[in-house]
């Protein structure tokens, strides 16, 4: 499953780790990329294990996080290029994808990416109907109709002036 030896003379000395998603896919990652995640760094410091199984991150999400980590571990890229990579990284991603990305980066403690994704999610949530937010986050409304009406009444101005979107 894991391809190991396509290393050139330069990368031969670099240590790698294998990271496995909850659905069993394995990714070969350079240690310099892995340690950009504070959680992975701690694990690697504590044990010699070269195989890390992430029990709650799926393969698609993990692939995205690893792409991010590898880009940021690349010394050949300027900070400007990395910054534009970050913007590119979140743009055009569906809200659903971002949700799992934000959880994964929180678990893996990739602070910078977690922040960027949260910001993108907030941007999408702007001017959305409350019903849209509940649906996207799969949240049950636990207010009584009276209690909800009361909160809406208290800050009525927050609803009054613009068309809210439902998609």
């Amino acid at each position: 499953m894991v391809t190991t030896d396509e290393k050139g003379p330069l990368t031969a000395k670099k240590k790698s780790v294998i990271i496995r998603s909850c659905d069993g896919d394995e990714f070969l990652v350079s240690e310099s990329a892995a340690v950009l995640s504070t959680s992975l760094k701690k694990i690697l410091e504590e044990k010699e294990d070269r195989l890390i199984h992430l029990s709650d991150i799926d393969n698609k999400t993990l692939a995205m996080v690893i792409a991010y980590l590898s880009t940021h571990a690349d010394d050949g890229l300027s900070d400007d290029l990395k910054r534009s990579f970050d913007q590119e990284f979140v743009s055009g991603k569906e809200f659903d994808v971002l949700k799992y990305l934000v959880l994964a980066t929180d678990t893996l403690q990739v602070t910078c990416l977690c922040y960027t994704v949260a910001k993108k999610m907030a941007d999408i949530m702007k001017n959305k109907l409350v019903e849209w937010v509940r649906r996207e986050f799969d949240i049950q409304n636990d207010y009584t109709p009276e209690a909800e009406a009361e909160i809406r009444r208290l800050d009525a101005w927050a609803w009054d002036d613009r068309q809210l979107e439902d998609d």
């Binding site: 799926d58 907030a122 949530m125 799969d138 609803w159």
Partner: protein
Amino acid sequence: MARTRKKLKLLTETTRDNRRVSSGPREKQAEFDVPMEVLELILSQLSLRDNIRASVVCKSWLAVAVSIRRANRPPWLMFFPKYGELYEFYDPSRRKIYRLELPELRGSRICYAKDGWLLLCRPDTRESSSFALILER
């Protein structure tokens, strides 16, 4: 702290058995539980208006939204003295004037002000410095 430990425990569920396979099909839609700190991070990026709307989503969102809500209070006006070092600050929301001696600002010009911070420059020495003004009564 406790949460970090929990995370690590989850993560260190490593295995040496390479044949261990998929833990089953993705059950993505089934549960999506946003940890409090992530919710804080997301909601703190919203404007006050969107923050208020988010508080109607459910009770736990209300608690988070209120805890990070910052009322958009109007900024204070700062008056420079012609002589001396007694500066005046006018709070338009309460229509009150506060006076403060600030010898540190002598000879400085303000280039920029944001969130209680001033960026100062001193034309005589061409030095620049930042200065925090915590103005809460």
